[in-house]
């Protein structure tokens, strides 16, 4: 069975992780632009970072037969600095035509501040003006519910938004329904303590079905592991779900969403209507 990792920060991972992912049948991975664990000191540092994830990472991944894709943006945490954010946003368009760039992301909120919201809105406009997919970061822990509602309210009121082209990531039980009800895609991140467990991701599929759901390990420089995505594959199989459904969550669904960008190469194994049909 082939696996697609829709969200992972390979810049923070070792080459050994590419090897592990390849051994676990990962054929493609996607790297949203994010906070480095420290605030960057200038816009030039972001330019270097975008160059790294559009040029170096695809080469490193290719050694293990993995297609590497990425998303470009000003991340929610550093978006608090409006002046720096606008400087970064000014050169994002030069990266959007790179062969592995899928869209604008992971934009969103961190502490739900006014500045973060301003930069979120400006990057939504940037995505729309360049016909790009959008990958959204929802805040951590206690800030998640409010931040998700803030972004949903904005996007639901925006006439230019096609919800099919937007994924809200790091969704959990208290935010999934509102995201799906609005027609957006929802991804669930498997983190040991602070987000979802593999079991709770499969719970969500049992509650909501397979339509517009994704799962990711979101591996980065913190406590995280690309292998947790494969723990969820095992959990879904262990509960007795059909191979076809497992394949849809971990391979077909990423193809359906990411394949809306012509640059994404993997093809789904079956049509969406068949994959999402309820028994």
């Amino acid at each position: 069975m082939k696996i697609i990792e829709p969200h992972i920060h390979m810049i923070a991972r070792t080459t050994q992780d590419y090897e592990r992912m390849a051994r676990m049948h990962t054929v493609a991975c996607c790297e949203p632009a994010f906070w480095a664990g420290y605030d960057r000191t200038s816009a030039k540092a972001f330019h270097d970072y975008f160059t790294h994830i559009t040029e170096f990472e695809p080469t490193r991944a290719a050694q293990y037969g993995i297609d590497h894709y990425c998303w470009i943006c000003m991340n929610p945490k550093e978006a608090e600095n409006i002046e720096l954010s606008r400087e970064v946003i000014s050169f994002i368009p030069e990266f959007l035509d790179k062969p592995n760039v899928l869209g604008i992301g992971e934009i969103g909120l961190n502490m739900n501040t006014k500045n973060e919201m301003t930069i979120f809105e400006e990057q939504v406009e940037l995505a729309l003006s360049h016909d790009q997919l959008i990958w959204i970061h929802t805040p951590h822990l206690n800030d998640k519910l409010k931040g998700t509602k803030m972004m949903l309210d904005y996007l639901n009121g925006h006439k230019g938004i096609d919800p099919e082209k937007v994924t809200f990531d790091h969704s959990e039980e208290h935010t999934l329904k509102m995201i799906l009800d609005s027609g957006f895609w929802a991804s669930m991140t498997i983190y040991p303590m602070t987000k979802n467990s593999a079991s709770r991701v499969i719970d969500a599929v049992e509650v909501y079905g397979l339509e517009r759901l994704l799962a990711d390990a979101s591996g980065d420089w913190g406590p995280s592991d690309p292998g947790t995505l494969h723990d969820a594959v095992f959990e879904m199989k262990r509960r007795g779900h059909r191979e076809k459904d497992v394949e849809t969550l971990f391979y077909n669904n990423p193809c359906y969403f990411l394949g809306q960008c012509d640059k994404f190469k993997p093809e789904p194994l079956i049509k969406k209507q068949e994959a999402w049909a309820r028994l």
Binding site: E173, P192, M193, S197, S199, D203, V207
Partner: protein, 83 residues
């Protein structure tokens, strides 16, 4: 803590530091338990399954956690032990 008869090592850290270290772990374990109860209940025979005496015992343990001030882990295991 003055009621605990202490024979072991004195914890080097303050309570607040331990809380900061372990809060997310406690939150995560409790959340997983909530999700497991939902998981059982979602099944065809879920309503019956959640009335299992083992689940009832877990609820009793939850109550104990809000009342007992010391030795919660010991009480937890004693409540599950065959007498």
């Amino acid at each position: 803590m003055e009621n605990i008869e202490r024979a072991g090592l004195t914890p080097p850290k303050k309570g607040k530091e331990i809380l900061d270290m372990y809060y997310l772990e406690a939150r995560s374990h409790l959340l997983e338990t909530a999700a497991i109860l939902d998981r059982i209940e979602r099944c065809d025979d879920g309503n019956k399954a959640v009335k299992d005496p083992r689940i009832k015992k877990l609820y009793e343990i939850c109550e104990m956690l809000t009342k007992e001030k010391t030795n919660r882990a010991e009480q937890f295991l004693k409540m599950l032990s065959i007498s």
